[in-house]
Amino acid sequence: MNPPETGTAAPVAEAPAVPHHYLNHSKGFLSWALTLDHKRIGIMYLIGVLSCFALGGMFALLLRTELWAPGDTIAGIFVKKGGTKTAQDIYNMWFTVHGAVMVFLVIIPGVPAALGNFVLPIMLGAKDVAFPRLNLGSFYLWCLGAIFFILTLFMGGVDAGWTFYTPYSAITSTAVIPALVGVFILGFSSIFTGMNFIVTIHKLRPPGMTWFRMPLFLWGSYATAVIQVLATPVLAITLLLLIMERTLHVGIFTPEYGGDPVLFQHFFWFYSHPAVYIMILPAMGIVSEIISVHSHKRPFGYQFIAYSSVAIAIFGFLVWGHHMFTSTQSPAMNAIFSAITFSVSIPSAIKVFNWLATMWGGSIRLTVPMLYGLSFIFLFSIGGLTGLYLGTLSTDVHFHDTYFVVAHFHYVMMGSALIGMFGGLHHWWPKMTGRLYNGKLARIAWAFVFVGFNVTFFTQFLLGSQGMPRRYYDYLPRYEIYHKISTIGSYMMAVGFAIMGVYLLQSIFGGKKAPANPWGANTLEWHCTSPPPHDNFKTPPAIEDCYDYSGIDYDPAIGGYTSRANPPK
């Protein structure tokens, strides 16, 4: 036994200079491509998701630029002379690709698969997720789905809208099938991640961590995973039926073959409404962490927040019909769906009040993650409150399918889900990379994103109440001024995200070393080094109350915090 130890004595002596962690655990392409380490899979997901975010964002900028003025602005440049695709077709493809990429490739996998994969097992004090191979498999399914999307772009694009409403999606001559296959595959990726997280949270919680001692991010992730597993198969079935209809002309959704187009909407929203909660619940989990950690105070009403996540997940299954108030769905169903929709607003409101009460009496530091957390509360409040106009039957008739809806869901999907994700990214960045980012640049970028977002999308509420319909390539001159303001806002956001790209890359290649616990958090991931070692914990950490900040002390020498219960090793 002794000789090998003495044999490795020299490298061990060097160890303090280059501490061992998951990034330098092994080297080479295959060590990443075939890794079973949840952290590396999370990082790969993160790179993929952020790349797709850039792609989807580029299409958003093209859309906004086209809408700068009525008539053709830039889409005409992409028209091939003598071709059959008009500038309108080009625009229709842009908004389809923008929507599909952002929903299926960015927001749905964003928090659970990218950040969740990295953080969730460490938060549990576990070495990995329950099924590491399934985890890697779901990453490759995500890649395959993304490849199908990219393929779609090269096959002439797809113009059915991300909702793929029939009968248009059944008859359009564009590349609908590769896009549907892509979404189908991404669905499985999402289901596998969900299953993995459910089993991980059930079986790998350490002794002492009862359900109600779990960090709130895990509650959010758990509720999300349940929706992923239960709702996504319905989407998969729907898309298969649509593919059958396109190729074999089986009559399901298209009246020409004896189908019912409204049935498609029911199937689609039966998944896609819960999918909104797949996007928002994990972001809410992140915000619960951020607000508590950066206020150094226990979350107010922990149990209410935890239960409200579950309540939202359950109610989320019962409200899909509110997307269809003008679809010729029966008035009785409209009334029922309107009533249930209002019930979702209650747990959402509870969360906002709880976050505010958490801040009260805290010791608040306005760090970059905290700025994103506060932005989330602001933007989610607007997104949620404007939902009231859309849940109310009489007003929804006017607002349905106008820019009001566009603004509302961007406040929820981008202003909340994505801003939550970026909050989480900045919160866990030092843990993931072991580096700090430039705080000043990060604040400037945040300001651009936050202000730009509101300029872009608040204007769209006004456009929508004026009656501007969605998915319009051209518009009446009376809407021009609002479109101009909105476009300026989108450029501000683009500047913000470009700055973010710069300082994050700068941080990777030359950022200051991050302490193990830069924010003074007490959840388990902050008890291991930054970046974490390959197995997360050498010895199982002591499980304590993860929101008790009394034992966390600031150490100016390291620019971070130390824990009395789990002293650094």
Binding site: P167, S295, T328, S394
Partner: protein, 380 residues
Amino acid sequence: MVGSCFSFEALSTWSLSLFESRCGGMLASIWTTGMPEGKSNFASDVDWMYGFINIVNVIFFVPIVFALVYFSIRFRKPPGAKAESDVSHNTPLEIVWTVIPMIIVVFMFFIGFRDYNKMLAAPADAYTIHVKAQQWSWGFDYPNGMHTDYDKGALDKDNNRWAPTDPDQGLHLPPGVPIRMMMTSDDVLHSFFIPEFRVKQDVVPGKISSVWFTPDTPLGDEPDMYWLLCTEYCGTSHSEMLSAVYVHPTWDSFLAWQVRASSWRDEQSWEERGEILSRRKGCAQCHSVVANAKGAWTGPTWYGLWGKTAKEHAVITRGTKVREEIAVTGEGGEAYLLESMRDPFAKLAEGFGEVMPIKRLSEEEILYLIAYIKSIGKKE
């Protein structure tokens, strides 16, 4: 079915009148400025609800933002400082902020539901117009057998406003009576939306959907003009699927329009009638009529189409997919043009997709269109 929900109705009417009499009327008029001016019988209900939700939202949002900003300043501390409070929950407070929003949303649901019910069944004496939606045009059939096509308008550059091009076409409505739209679609989903009337209803192929409203009677002698917009994405020219809508100030005005609009052919040659029809029926959206038209066109150009020799015009036959060369001249050419209007994909012009919607055209209308096509870019 739902209008007579026990005494909720009485309760809400009472609370509404209480609210309106105290402050609602004034506040609502201040807070509904975001909406276009309401011009139908539903506008007052919808706008009141909009104003009510605006007020509720301000009442919730302002304190949330105040707390957000105030707490961020008041409780901001240097690193390492401990929190002032360690309160973990306060059950009575949490119950209060659960129950209050609950009461408000129940009220909101109920009023929205009540007003929505009024939008459902049209009165029995409503003036019924059949609306046919198709990619990308609207057609309107009136109870006396009259038909008008949509008028998508064009940019009036001098005034920078969108203006109708053909005031006899578009949707014309008589004053002061409930109007019911019976709507069908030939191809994909569309949606009937007039922002000023606060009505919207999808038009679904294979179904008849219906929407009703009573437009406000114009105050002056001229008809009021609105835009009907398609609000369900329907493909390429979705954003051009709009039509002028007129509400006439009197029945006399409405009837005078009917006489005028029915006699549009009287003074026109076949070619001129064809030219007008090509705009009304939407042909000109996809078929260019000038030499070397700019940009991409969904359909083959009509410029110089007539007179093309077999070498110059090829089609793909449906089913067999055989490429066939057709001379667009003589009786054969006329037969080909007629077939292409009735059944566009039987012989599809080479290089184009199966996208042309099938229009309901009468025999005369087809003759006019053929005469027009023959006249465009004629070879001397």
